[in-house]
Amino acid sequence: MTVGADPLPLAAVALLASAYLFGVSRDRRGWRRRRTAAWLAGCALLAAALGPPALLPPGPSGHMAQHLLLGMLAPVALVFGAPVTLLLRVARPPVRRAVGRLLRSRPVHLLGHPATAVLLGTGGLYLVLLTPLYAAAESHRWLHHGLHLHYLLAGYLFAWSVAGPDPAPRRPGLPVRAGALFVAAAGHAVLAKYLYARADTLPPGLDGRDVAALREAARLMYYGGDLAELLLATALFAAWYRRRAPRAGGRAGTPPHTRPIGRLASHDHAGEYWRA
């Protein structure tokens, strides 16, 4: 709220949308419209979060709405846009090989594990909201932008690792991913109620504390998180449902796709749902 609409993040969002549309225009095989729609919806949610403050309710609730959009809803929409798959389809072979190597590398494997994503996303949220970091970000512009970027990237990493259609080599199976979603959802709900219960002291270090408004924000956090978690759970279980389709569809036991991306995505069951 101390930091109003800033042209810099909005320009970055415009760049994301344009780059994706450029990629779609280069794809001669025809890119699925619902993926383009998901990506553009994600960009629109980002723009709503970063744009004129008038779009959001005033006070802590507005701030919370901004964080929910940046860290949960926009990332889910962007992940369903499958930008890496698009890149692999339209980029030249050297770029494709580089992306493939990167995706198969050990650091990306560790970073892309759902457990890492939970630690960075939900863990990061605890770190910000239970320490003076939150109050500090209110008054420091770059810290504020940095935190927003962290929410977005951590949210994206989590959504991708749990149910993203993009290739994810060595992605763990359904129980691990459902478990990660469970831990993240529980962690989010517990933190929201804890903030509600301790609104007179948390987040620490705020000037001019309005306890009722902070409680409203905590309630929004609790229910707002549900929406993103429901979307992810639907994507996750829908992929399982598709994977178990009777053999007529030629799924189980048949070689994966013959496209280069197919080999990358041999464990990418969520991908099969969004790709098919």
Binding site: A178, L181, F182, V183, A184, A185, A186, G187, H188, A189, V190, K193, Y194, Y196, A197, R219, Y222, D226, E229, L230, A233, T234, L236, F237, A238, W240, Y241, R244, A245, P246
Partner: protein, 147 residues
């Protein structure tokens, strides 16, 4: 027909639907339950969060599991109904005894004499649970080959 899986899928959906009814009807529509009350201890917040996340996954996962059984033609409808009632009753009793009384997360309603509310709540849960048990028993013990 797969009675065991049908009952289990029904139970998962029953738990989640009852939890959703609790959240929607008693928290949101009637406003009887409080989001949090001052006497709530921290351990109850933890259990509430875990339960909330489990309900969310159970709701979505249960429906896809149900759909999968149906698609394979192995869904036993009576067993699934039995499981649904078992799950719903079990959740209602758990909520009424553990959440409300043991953990004291929140009460059914505020500013009223609580006893009749607690009794109705838990008796309703027990009735659902018993009806579910009876239905499941009958479904499981029918002769093979009958629907």
């Amino acid at each position: 027909m797969d009675d065991r899986r049908s009952t289990a899928a029904g139970a998962v959906i029953g738990v989640a639907v009852m939890a959703a009814v609790d959240e929607i009807v008693f928290h949101q529509v009637l406003g009887w339950h409080h989001f949090y009350d001052r006497s709530t201890p921290s351990v109850a917040l933890l259990s509430d969060g875990l339960l909330h996340a489990a309900e969310l996954l159970a709701l979505v996962g249960g429906f896809f599991w149900f759909a999968d059984l149906r698609r394979r033609g192995v869904l036993a409808a009576r067993s699934a109904w039995g499981g649904f009632l078992l799950g719903a009753g079990a959740f209602q009793l758990f909520d009424g005894i553990v959440d409300h009384k043991v953990l004291r997360l929140h009460q059914i309603r505020y500013g009223v004499h609580l006893l009749p509310y607690d009794v109705v709540w838990n008796v309703a849960g027990a009735v659902l649970l018993l009806a579910g048990a009876a239905l499941t028993w009958r479904a499981w013990s029918r002769p093979a080959g009958t629907p």
